[in-house]
């Protein structure tokens, strides 16, 4: 029978077929190839194992890092916040006790868990990947079935290396055409979410397809899959291809020698069959796409940057209307205001959505030789210590610092307002992260989700801007000066 990519990966991991229908019918039990662990959603799971006297079944398929709750300044000093320090120390103790490999603060492989897995080559096509974090969908960019889980499921995976999963439906997101300059993967996914809504993907695994997706780099594909959860889908996938293999080859944990050949042969089968049928289809035209930005308090409340803040009256559905009213009030916005007239206080470049080399390079290319708006504070937080090192080797840190941005150590940082990097009440931020929820980046903070190049252009002009709004950069500075 013809299968989609997601169905192929699912079928290859069935440990025990479900019992079918019936009151107590257990669903399919799936094997998990890789379990990523971090400090926030694991302590209660480790404690559960300990209380039940259970072992962690496969330490060799488990890896941990510190990211959500770590500071991005003064990382060589003890963590100032005592509760945070305790949580980090708890992870260290648990990893030592259960034999889990851990990349701690200060280690070259420490960083956001969804940046670390791929960069080590641990994320590979056709795998099942889970983590107690909803943005695990990121790893789907490699053609893996990757999903976020709660702490009870974290404990379940630790104890059994499996998960019982309800069957899902499949949705094809077809993106055809060529992106215009200044339009990026982030704009694709924000437009998809605006189109299908925050619940549109609920119960589905999304597969991103089409010429626009095929032409994207791995970093860009990760940006798209990362935000699948923002459309309600637990997972999003892109079929592996030469771009995937080129990214994988030579990474520390990529297969080598004969294993590489065997792997590629298998990976080449991981494509949706020609005659496979998706349960739903969504089409998006890449040719006409513009830079996208959110105006509200959920990721589905977005418009093209050239448009204006919508009016609650624009929404037919009563719940959507009420949500829009509430969002405008929280965001301090008037309906009808052109998005480009909205002034921001802070620009955040980072998060598991947009903190990889390509993101940093794209932003640096915009700001090089230009001046930051003096009223704007800009925070640049690389996704991992490795990304930070690579960026420094290319001299990107100098570009950001010369511009007046803060160059920080790796972590989740201002994406979720857990460490000290937070917005003040009423502060407005153009953020390359994934969630514009009320208070997400700090109590009372106001978030507009944007791409890295829009973030950079906004830091220059002080108002939400696309690169095409900028005056040409001075001639001499437009040439990249690699300081290394």
């Amino acid at each position: 029978m013809a299968k989609t990519l997601a169905e192929k990966v699912w079928d290859a991991h069935v440990v025990r077929k479900g019992d079918g229908d019936g009151a107590n019918a257990q669903p399919d039990l799936l094997f998990i190839d890789l379990h990523l662990v971090h400090e926030v959603t694991s302590p209660q799971a480790f404690e559960g194992l300990r209380l039940a006297g259970r072992k962690l079944r496969r330490p060799d398929l488990t890896i941990a890092t510190e990211d959500h709750n770590t500071p991005t300044l003064d990382i060589d000093k003890p963590i100032a916040d005592l509760t945070s320090r305790t949580q980090i120390q708890t992870l260290r103790n648990n990893c030592a006790e259960f034999g889990v490999r851990l990349h701690s603060l200060g280690d070259a492989e420490q960083g956001i868990v969804h940046v670390v897995g791929p960069q080590l080559g641990l994320t590979q096509p056709g795998m099942t990947v889970v983590c107690g974090d909803s943005h695990t969908s990121t790893h789907g960019a490699f053609g893996a079935l990757a999903m976020g889980i709660g702490t009870s499921e974290v404990e379940h995976v630790m104890a059994t290396q499996t998960l019982s999963l309800k069957p899902f439906k499949t949705m094809a997101i077809n993106v055809e055409g060529t992106l215009r300059p200044g339009v990026t993967a982030k704009d694709i996914i924000l437009a998809v979410i605006a189109k299908i809504g925050t619940g549109g993907g609920q119960g589905y695994v999304l597969e991103y397809r089409g010429s626009a997706i095929r032409s994207l780099s791995m970093d860009a594909r990760m940006t798209i899959c990362n935000m699948s959860i923002e459309a309600g889908a637990r997972a999003g996938m892109v079929a592996p291809d030469e771009t995937t293999y080129a990214y994988m080859e030579g990474r520390p944990h990529a297969p080598q020698g004969a294993d590489w050949d065997a792997a590629v042969e298998y990976w080449n089968t991981l494509r949706t069959d020609e005659d496979a049928v998706f349960d739903a289809q969504v089409d998006l035209d890449a040719d006409t796409l513009e830079p996208f930005v959110t105006w509200g308090t959920n990721p589905g409340q977005g418009v093209s940057l050239s448009e204006s803040v919508p009016s609650p009256e624009d929404f037919g559905d009563e719940n959507a209307k009420a949500a829009a009213e509430r969002a405008l009030q929280y965001m301090g916005l008037e309906a009808g205001t052109p998005m480009k007239e909205i002034r921001v206080d802070t620009v955040f470049l980072g998060s598991c959505t947009n903190s990889r080399m390509e993101d940093l390079r794209a932003a640096a290319d915009i700001i090089r030789g230009r001046q930051k708006d003096p009223n704007v504070r800009m925070l640049v937080v690389p996704g991992s210590a490795r990304v930070r090192l690579e960026a420094e080797a290319e001299g990107l840190d100098r570009v950001f610092k010369d511009f007046g941005a803060e160059w920080r150590f790796a972590g989740c940082s201002m994406c979720l307002g857990m460490n000290p990097d937070q917005l003040e009440v009423g502060e407005r931020c153009a953020s390359t992260s994934n969630r514009n929820f009320e208070g997400r980046q700090g109590k009372g903070g106001r978030t507009h989700l944007v791409s890295p190049v829009v973030a950079a252009a906004t830091a220059i002009r002080g108002t939400l801007s696309s690169p095409s709004d900028l005056d040409p950069a001075p001639e001499s500075a437009a040439i990249r000066t690699d300081a290394a």
Partner: protein, 203 residues
């Protein structure tokens, strides 16, 4: 896990869609390493507003939350379920739940019951017209009763069975340990292992 068969308690109408888990419990409370003690964290930003529903009597004693569509979206934090339970909620009713939230609820014995939006609207009206009205959530018959309203709800059969029996998920899976071991023996050698650690040579 405690068995869940039926529960009756004061219904709390939360007329809002897209209640994400950052609203249910903000990230600052996630620094704790315990599984309990999150009652103060529930809706902590919204509870600063005196007009918020949980600041009004008799809703402070509510145990059945009746929410708008797309409840529990966003972060996978199970702390959202712990906070609802610690506050005293036994069930949440909505016309659409985020997948991960629904899964977390099922593991923790918080009933996430999916009703039609029309029925949610009827229950909202009833609870607003007669504050303090009790809602009965019956998992055996898969129905919700509130005033004169009786409405069916959806929940997947397996979660329902586990809740009714109060069964531990891990224990159930470990009954199939032989299947897991057999599967492990078939995994191809090219699949990566985290141990022994291999590190980048560069940088």
């Amino acid at each position: 896990m405690e068995k869940f068969t039926t529960h009756t308690g004061i219904g709390v109408p939360l007329r809002q869609s897209n209640v994400d888990t950052d609203q249910i419990i903000p990230a600052v409370y996630l620094k704790r390493i315990t599984r309990t003690g999150f009652e103060d964290a529930l809706f902590s930003a919204w509870r600063k507003d005196p007009s918020f529903i949980l600041n009004k009597e008799p809703f402070t004693a509510g145990s059945v939350l009746v929410a708008g569509p797309d409840f529990g979206t966003g972060s996978s934090r199970e702390h959202a379920v712990w906070a609802l339970k610690d506050y005293g909620f036994k069930a949440v009713l909505s016309s659409r739940f985020a997948d991960i939230f629904r899964g977390n609820s099922g593991k923790q014995g918080l009933l996430a019951a999916e009703l039609s939006q029309d029925d949610i609207e009827l229950i909202w009206k009833e609870l607003e017209n007669a504050p303090g009205t009790e809602v009965t959530v019956d998992l055996v018959s898969k129905t919700v009763a509130c005033g004169n309203i009786v409405a069916p709800f959806e929940i997947d059969d397996y979660t329902r069975w586990r809740l009714l029996e109060g069964l531990d998920d891990i224990g159930l899976t470990l009954q199939h340990e032989a299947d897991i071991t057999a599967y492990e023996a078939t995994r191809p050698s090219f699949k990566p292992k985290t141990l022994p650690a291999r590190l980048s040579s560069a940088g």
